[in-house]
């Protein structure tokens, strides 16, 4: 009884007055706690919204309508940000890439990487065991027939979970409007890499020559600097393997006209031992 009254007194005396808007804004937010905004979860983001640290557009999950609703409630600008999505820097599905060994251990990419990098011939390439698919909260990643993850850009919220999950560091968050993309991370130069993957970058440098302002070769890979001006499709035209692609909203990843055509649908046979 005495303790109960003590609690009542403590509750009255030590009560913290909290801005009631925080609770209200938290309810308006999607509540996925994905962390895509840069805050630990939805409530810390709501606190930051109320103090005016960020604008509602910082939330990568909620729809424009929901964002305007929060903006209206708090009487601030929406501050809409350009949509970013996760992109995979590997196109080496099982129809174009070869394995050097059969991996039989635990069925996760994280485990396969620890066993001599997994069985794939290309040391940089996607292992295709789908750690990214498992970790994605929004079901935006699906493995295709060639054991390569495909990001559904309309569902992707750029939370960055796949970026941390991929042991080969193949995912990165990019602006959806940027259509030029290098789908390879091989740091090898020369045609030897084609033995292991038909769509690898051979570091021939043609794209960098064709778009000198935009693309620079760094560490045997083309690096695109979008701040240098608008990208055009000229960069992909002469690529012999189709490692650099143009991401069309309708047609998907488009290769240049000189790229080798890939017709094989089944798996490529393993390398001879």
């Amino acid at each position: 009884m005495a303790l109960a009254s003590l609690l009542i007194v403590a509750n009255r005396l030590l009560h913290v007055q909290e801005d009631p808007r925080i609770d209200r804004v938290t309810q308006m937010l999607p509540g996925t706690n994905c962390g895509g905004c840069g805050y630990p979860g939805c409530r810390p983001f709501a606190e930051a919204l109320v103090t005016g640290e960020v604008l509602p557009g910082g939330c990568t999950v909620s729809s424009p309508a929901e964002q305007s609703q929060i903006a209206g409630y708090l009487d601030v600008d929406v501050g809409r940000q350009e949509k970013r999505v996760a992109r995979l820097a590997c196109a080496g599905g099982s129809n174009v890439s070869r394995n050097h060994a059969h991996y039989q251990g635990l069925g996760t990419c994280a485990a396969a990487t620890l066993v001599a990098g997994g069985g794939k011939g290309c040391f940089w390439g996607c292992l295709g065991l789908g750690d990214c698919q498992v970790v994605c909260t929004f079901d935006a990643i699906e493995m295709n027939n060639h054991r390569l993850p495909v990001v559904n850009e309309s569902l992707c919220t750029a939370c960055g979970d796949c970026v941390t999950a991929c042991p080969k560091n193949l995912f990165s968050l990019e602006l959806q409007s940027q259509q030029l993309w290098v789908a390879c991370r091989s740091q090898d130069a020369g045609d030897e890499i084609l033995e292991d993957c038909l769509v690898a970058c051979t570091a021939c440098g043609r794209c960098a020559l064709d778009a000198p302002a935009l693309i620079e070769m760094q560490g045997n890979l083309p690096v695109i600097d979008f701040s240098k001006g608008p990208a055009t499709r000229t960069a992909i035209e002469r690529c012999p393997t189709g490692a650099i692609v143009w991401l069309d909203p309708e047609a998907g990843a488009m290769k240049g006209s000189s790229a080798r055509k890939i017709v094989r649908q089944g798996d490529r046979p393993d390398a001879p031992t």
Partner: protein, 446 residues
Amino acid sequence: MNIFGAKSFAHGIHPPESKDDTSGQPIRQFPFAPVLEVPLSQHVGQPAVPVVREGQEVERGQCLARPDGFLSVAMHAPASGVVKRIGLIPGISGKMVRGFFIEPFPASTQEVLEGTACDADTASPEEIVTAIQNAGVVGLGGAGFPTHAKLRIPPDKHVDTVVINGAECEPYLTTDHRVMLEHAEDVIAGIRYLLRAAGAEQAIIAIEANKPDAADKIRAAITDNARISVEVLPVKYPQGAERILIKTLLGREIPSGSLTLDVNALCFNVTSTAEIGRLLPHGAGLQERVMTVGGPAVKNKGNYRVPIGTPLRFVLETAGLEDDVACVFLGGPMMGQAVSSLDIPVTKGTTGVIAFTGREAKYLSAQKEYPCIRCGYCVEACPIFLNPSQLGLLAGQNQYEKMADEFYLMDCFECGCCTWVCPSHIPLVQQFRVAKAAVRKVRKTV
């Protein structure tokens, strides 16, 4: 200490030794491969810095790269030839590492370039540490930790005992056994360097009871009976783990997160010790290593002195392979690693290469996994008294942080005893390796 009077440790397992095929074969010199691939990073720490150019002719034993900072060692040319290029070499870690592609001259001999000698009786401890670093010696038992870095003892620490690890508890491997048999004098010479550099009073050479001939040879070679002794230990896996060996021999338990230095002891692999004793009197560098080439799929099993940088494909083809080779391990089957490509070169840390045919690989591949029945076999097998059963359950839930904070995951040295005894075939140690990598990644970024 058990009732038979021999020192040993609690827990552990007894896997089949499978050493008879190679333990009786003398060490043979291996030929040069057409191209040798010498990675710049074959050790824990900073990669070495190249001191030769592409296209330059080098002599066998010549320094190719100098150490970059203290936690780094020098690299030496394994053969006289031309540095064709400096490029990316596939490594056992699954990453490409920079290194030299050396094409030996057709008439390249076994003669080795020598440098300034370092005398065990007159050199100062600092001189010995530098000489070991410049000789490129690392832990040849597989860990690859630079040997000289262990010998840099902080002023507030004191080492009284140097433990020389000749246990070689790993099945199939007989590298250390042959080295002790054939190079006992080098082992003793190496110990004299180590004792002087560490300022230690005594050295104990630990040998498992399945190598009585090696123990006899070493005993006969000991010149300084007051300081150097041999201890024969019962056969048990993982006897040769540093922490367990020190506990067995000296009765000192190394606390979690501490080093052997904290209990006034240092532990060195016997082959590393022999290399120190062989190289330092001539000022030469480590450019080849003794390794076991064995397993049921190898025709000419044995121990070979293989030049560093020899591609695995060349090693196995020269030794001869059965047709249906299915699985190749670097190191032994317990703590070694399956390789994904035969283009990986032999490095300083390669204790052996073991090849299995399809028939044996059937037993190696993952068996059907059943739920944990709480039998406690793994708890009784773990040599460092962890709770693998509980850790395994947590790993299934991806609770890696909890595993590390509450169940001492990071102390696990991946001996694999838990997986070996598990009747439900749960891949415990594999899960722990994933968990340890995840924890390391998080702790590094935070």
